[in-house]
Amino acid sequence: MASDSEEDFVVYGTPLEPLDEDEPLKKPIPLHEQTVKDEKGRYQRFHGAFTGGFSAGYFNTVGSKEGWTPSTFISSRQQKAENHNARPEDFMDEEDFSEHGIAPSQITTSQEFSSGCRDEVREKTRAVISQMALIPGDNLLEELITPARLSIGVELLRRMGWKEGQGIGPRVKRKLRQRQKEGGARVYSCALPHIGSEGSEDDDDEEFAPENVTFAPVDVTPVDFSPRSGVQGLGYRGLNPGLALLGHGAAEHINLFNPESETRSQLFGNAQKTSRKGRISGQAFGVGALEDNDDDVYHKDSMTRYDTVLGGEEPGDGLYGWTAPQQYNNRRDTSKALSYLGKIPEGFTVALKHTKEKMIFPPPVLPPDFRPVHGFHPSLLGTTAVSPALRQALATSRGHMVKEEPQQGGRHQLDSSQRRALLGEDVLHSSSSVMELLRPEDRQRLYNLHNDSKTTSAKCQNAIHPSGSVTRSTVVSLTQPLPQSCSTPSSSLQEDSLASWRGVQSSTHTFRPFVKNPSKQARYEQFLSRLKHGDKDAVEQSLDPGMTEWERSRERDEFVRASILYQPTSSSLSSRFTVAQHQEDDDAVEVCRDEEGAVDNKQAAVKMKMFGKLTREMFEWHPDKLLCKRFNVPDAYPGSGVVGLPKVKRDKFSVFNFLNVTESREMTAPLKPPEMRKKSRWDVSEQEELDKEDELPTSASTASPNSISDQTQAQKRKEDDKEEQQKEEEEEEEVVVSRPPMDLFKAIFASSDDDSSSSEVESEEEDTKEGEGKNDLHPLNLFNVPSTSVTSSITSCSSQKTVVFSQTSMQEEFGPSLPPPSARGGATSHYSSSTEDKQRKKNKEKKVKKKEGKHKKDKKKKKQKKHKHKEKHQKKSKEEESSDEDSEGHVSTEELLKRLKSIP
């Protein structure tokens, strides 16, 4: 096999010896040790080129130690010396006779034999010559001995589809070729013949040539560079048989200027056409007595045909005397396609015009005294009172803080005030506030209410205040939708913001929170600029007077909040940061577009074994593009950027997003303690939704007095709840860190026992008796969320649901478990048992004491510990272990229970 594959290769030369990796590299031989040996192994000393090259023989004595002995010496005593002619070979070394010597003695095919045999041009000449020869068929003998050898170039060309007589190069259209042929009207010196088989093609069938047929280019006879071998002078050509024999040579003088083309064409093409006269005529022969045309014997070339000025007149072909092959020197413009050497791809042609070169202007010349440092005008820096250090920093980081003009959005982004400004309408002054529509007594009543709320909010504000800016911002977010009530906190906040923004350089505008609303952003910037100037009424002045009271108050809060949140950092620091390109929309969350249908119907269907339409659901699902590619299927939704189930944005704070069915909420409500209900997240979400509604500007602006009063009542209620809310909010934030109270979980998850899932039914069937005893325990299961709870909230919710309500066994919570590695007490218990065995035992125990299974996490830890432990002592008997485990597990659960109960 290996030898076969080796035989496939053709090996040239002698392979190098394989390098041994461990062998050190050979040292190069020093110069004085390098010797030259002839083929017989004799040393040859080099004398130097001028002293005779290599030494000959022994110390330059050729042959023997005695010296040079002529090999031809024969003693005349024994034998008469023959007359011996010295040949050149006698004086030559044996190396000279070798293959590469000056007189190789081996028989090789010589050039004369090898070359001309298949050359059609030469064949034709030879044929003609043989015809012309005195003895016709003279060279017949020559043709008999034709060595069948071609040069490798010809061989290769033939393999590529070349045929003799064709030119080499890309195939051309007929027209082009024609033109090419006609081109050489006026050629000096080396005009090339129009010859060959193509030449014999008729010209008149030109119009029948189809469009898509291409032809090989005309063969080109290379310029003959062979040296003159004869003793004749330059330009001598012997008796031209065509001229001499065909008899019309005398008619025209041998044209010096176009000699070859004429003679050759006569040779090959036109020879047959002309009538053979069979007379010898020509210059060399003089004019015969019988010949008429003796007028032109002593032809004189007119001097006009010679160049009289050296290099004066340019021939016009742009070649300046360079005699390229004809193909290239005629009609350069039209035959540009040919000047392109490479293969022109299909559908492309060579451009007739050159593309305009790109004008590159040089950069402007810098004045000699230019310094690449930007200096600021002193008036700019002098206006504000900033420290020199800050000024320095500003000067360096100026580029980062260029104030951008608020970008104008499209028509739809404009708000009413902008549109009004565009249309040139007047500001409506009539009822900027809804309060003005109210009757005075109602207004008074509202005002009282408002004052009450103020005090409460102030209280809460004071309570929260010391806890830092983060909580402050949350407070603001909570109080934000309440229009009037927040004047106290907001005023205090205003002071904060005023303090922080005062004296800040006007150009340090780093964050633009209201980019989406340009006018709002403009107002905000105005507000900031006023803040910077230390204006106390900055907010009030910068607000839009055309807005409603509610809108204004909302915006006021927003501005203050934003100004605090995005306090100017020290300018050197702020220059290092840029604003994020995309702001996340915080108020929405992505949920699946297609919700799964109700589970109850399906369960019923499964019970009735009516699989099919009732249990099947079909969703649109978008596979990843790459996944389609890997599976060799076309993309089902080309161009859609969605992957997975299509999502839609929903309100983040709606619990509806996370619940499939909500009808059964009322059923579970009585189970909950009433005070829990107030605190539950459910209420929070309602609140949030209310807020959302409030935030809609249309609803607020077009609100009737009734709704206003409702609103204020709602505000009141909200204010009552506010503290609790705040607490809850904080708690929610801390959920990650600390354990939330049980009530919260209960409230959340008890509200959604709607999908009392399949496992509930099962488990009830399985263990109905343990059902009641566990009710007090199941909140504990909330901590049994898998330790690796990276899963989405949905899945975790659902799994918790199953835990709480279905009271399923532990395996179902984690999916079906794996069977034990060996049977209990079986003979095959010798290999290392793992947790499964225990798990199985635990399952058994669970039947007895279901409580235990609930404390999965602790158990798991125990198990792992146990596992390690076990690996150490594999020989330990199983019974012991299990008993150990039982006791340990038992204790641990009890401890855990205690601990959990101690948690408020």
Partner: protein, 318 residues
């Protein structure tokens, strides 16, 4: 002149125990045939994956690199690669010949229950207890999955791939079929945690076993139930089920130490194969012949229709 077709033989069942291989790798969590059925893979609870020759029961290679017990494995169509998944949350792509880890794919949040190559072994699909199926690209060096299928609301217990369709069984009691060509997701509600799902060989049906001790044969296109196979016991463990190579029978593991074999059409129990006393954990049917692999505890059993001549000498592995 065509001869009449010979009367079709009654489908044979693998009822003769050819050999028992003691794998010496703890409990055998899964046993799988390779693509042509000449080799078998056993996933051990001692973190090792072993490759055996089926005909002689010789151990060919041990693949070690998992950090916890190996739960499932699959071989590529050209037998050049293996993939395996483990409780250590990782999926490993192995080179068969060298036994080296080509790629270790991490990303699952929990133990990985099942793993499967697609037909051209360009994608590895792994289903985990974290409720996701992750599609890993074996062609690129990306360490993130191509796509995460997180539609399941509970752990994935089984994944199968045939051509352009993925079938997943989840503990939330649903069988999901992702049709890549159509871009659709079909969800069949079974109402009991699914332990194993299979495509039939003709690709028209899906088989799913669930913890209510029922194996159901559903029509793939409509979701209608074509058959229901009961009698075995599958209450708490994740056990396998499968179809025979010619779709004539449905086989399922059972917790009572038997492999149950039902006639697909009639639904009647045609064979109750006693494997041992413990739980039959995994089984795998030969892709073409009547040959069955079962695993119980630490041993793998090879069953065939005809008893071997040298049946008496039960080859024990070293």
């Amino acid at each position: 002149m065509a001869f009449p077709q010979p009367k079709p033989q009654a489908p044979q069942l693998p009822q003769h125990l050819l050999r028992t291989i003691n794998c010496q790798q703890g409990a055998v969590r899964a046993v799988r045939f390779n693509a042509d059925g000449n080799y078998l893979l056993s996933c051990g609870s001692d973190k090792s994956l072993k490759l055996w020759g089926v005909s002689r029961g010789t151990l060919l290679k041990t693949y070690s690199g998992h950090g916890y017990e190996v739960l499932d494995a699959d071989g590529s169509y050209d037998n050049s690669q293996l993939c395996s998944c483990s409780s250590d949350k990782s999926v490993i792509l192995w080179d068969v010949a060298s036994g080296q880890v080509i790629r270790k794919l991490r990303g699952h949040a929990g133990k990985v229950n099942c793993v499967q190559f697609n037909e051209e072994a360009t994608v590895i699909l792994s289903g985990s207890i974290d409720g996701t199926v992750r599609c890993w690209d074996t062609r690129s060096r990306r360490f993130e999955p191509i796509q995460v299928l997180d539609e399941a609301k509970d752990g994935i217990s089984s994944v199968k791939v045939v051509q352009h369709e993925l079938l997943t069984g989840s503990v939330d009691g649903r069988v999901r079929r992702y049709d890549l060509r159509m871009g659709q997701l079909h969800v069949d509600f079974i109402n009991s945690p699914i332990t194993c799902v299979c495509f039939s060989q003709d690709g028209q049906c899906t088989l799913s076993s669930s913890l209510d001790s029922v194996v159901r044969l559903l029509d793939k296109s409509t979701g209608e139930m074509l058959g229901e196979y009961t009698g075995h016991k599958m209450k708490s463990y994740k056990l396998d089920c499968c179809l025979s190579s010619k779709d004539t029978h449905v086989l399922s593991c059972s917790e009572d130490g038997h492999v149950y074999c039902w006639d697909l059409v009639e639904g009647s129990l045609s064979l109750k194969l006693p494997v041992g006393k413990a739980v039959v954990q995994s089984l795998s049917f030969h892709p073409t012949e009547t040959c069955l692999l079962t695993s119980m505890e630490g041993c793998v059993q090879v069953w065939a229709a005809e008893p071997e001549e040298t049946q008496d000498e039960v080859t024990m592995a070293t």
